[in-house]
Amino acid sequence: MNDLLTPPPEREMPRDRLLLRQELLMKEFVRTRDRADEPAPAPTGRFIRSRRAVALVLVPAAFLAAGAAYALTRPSASQTVEAVVCELQPTPGSGGVVTGASGQDPTEVCREQWANGNVIAGSTEVPPLVACAAAEGHVILVFPSEDTALCERLGLPPVPEGYRHAAGQFAAMREDLFQRFGSDTRCVREDEAVQIARQVLDAHGYRDWKIEVGGGFDHPCASYAFDSVNKTLTMVGDRRPEGS
């Protein structure tokens, strides 16, 4: 490797951090080991997708910045709504469950998730829930809280008008993509995948979205990821679905 491409020398992880992280991992190991009769969770853990694990919904990074203030503009009804996040605590980015937005009332979505024990393992108690918008309306965050002014306190706008229509429209497009690429019976390669994706986007009114080709096309099956903020659908190669 010449100097231009020689990476810096290796460094040790600070010992106290190494030990702390090992301890946290061991706790998780024991926690899941003791539930060994359950099937090993999907690689994305509590990221619950509306359909089989094909589409990776990329929730905009901006929304992850806990405590960040968001513009209080009310998003228009035409915006895409990708996901409903059932937060663990009344704080953005506190962890919890992410589901694809379907047009269903977001608090109802999360009520079901809490009731099914998906937010806190072993607990089915449903707390009062408050829904706010984030990431310019692309994501709805649902917090466990009784505070009706929570959204305002967090600097988050309320759920936008027309949310259910926008979410339903986006869900229909997502479903269409799933039907084209999510089937266990057929894999679609890169060139054809891009062509099909374009047709689907156009048919559902997302003509201003662009398509990018990511990596992984040495694997035979096209998959995809959404980036609503940048109006981009990224096509990536994936392994053949298990069982096909």
Partner: protein
Amino acid sequence: MHDGNPIASFGHRALMVEPSDEELWARATEGDEQSFGLLYRRHAHTLYNFCFRRTADWAFAEDLTSIVFLEAWRQRGRVQVDARGLLPWLYGVATNLLRRRVRQRLRRDAAFARVLPTEKADDFSEDVAARLDDEQRMREILGLMERLPLVDQEVLVLFAWQGLTYEETAVALGIPVGTVRSRLSRARYRLRELTTSSGHEQGDDPSGHTAEPKGGST
């Protein structure tokens, strides 16, 4: 804990014949937490540095190292550790996570959040300046690397920087050895072009090994 498990004497490893990754992974999947812990201690350093080289961010590399082990554990049903050990497979997990832009999900995934410290990492006070320099340098290198296709970058990093063999690289990325060779060849050619055109040509191979890489990767 199994009776007579050599890792009961963890800390005196110089005196012990260490169990292989294959043995430790088998014990871990049977529920032996010390075996899982030993695998972490054995490979965390290598993965930490690998993750840094892919991200140019020491703090994120720390988080990612934890997530790689968590993902390995979550996917334990799919892992078949052989004599090559666990590391090529861990590299594969890390590579997949990076492809999936895991940074955005770190604090949103409940299981991820459970294995990440809640407090901010300190600033490595003794070597903070050096680490900042590392990050700047690594960003520059990655800026150049990004002009290669992602799949070529992945091969190059594993082979040239991490010292994996062709076979180990193939295992890590789940591709045939021939594909590793062809991507490496393409990457070398492209890098040579890039370094030449940027006026940095130094006459040697810009992509890493000039000889067969070392056999091990740990």
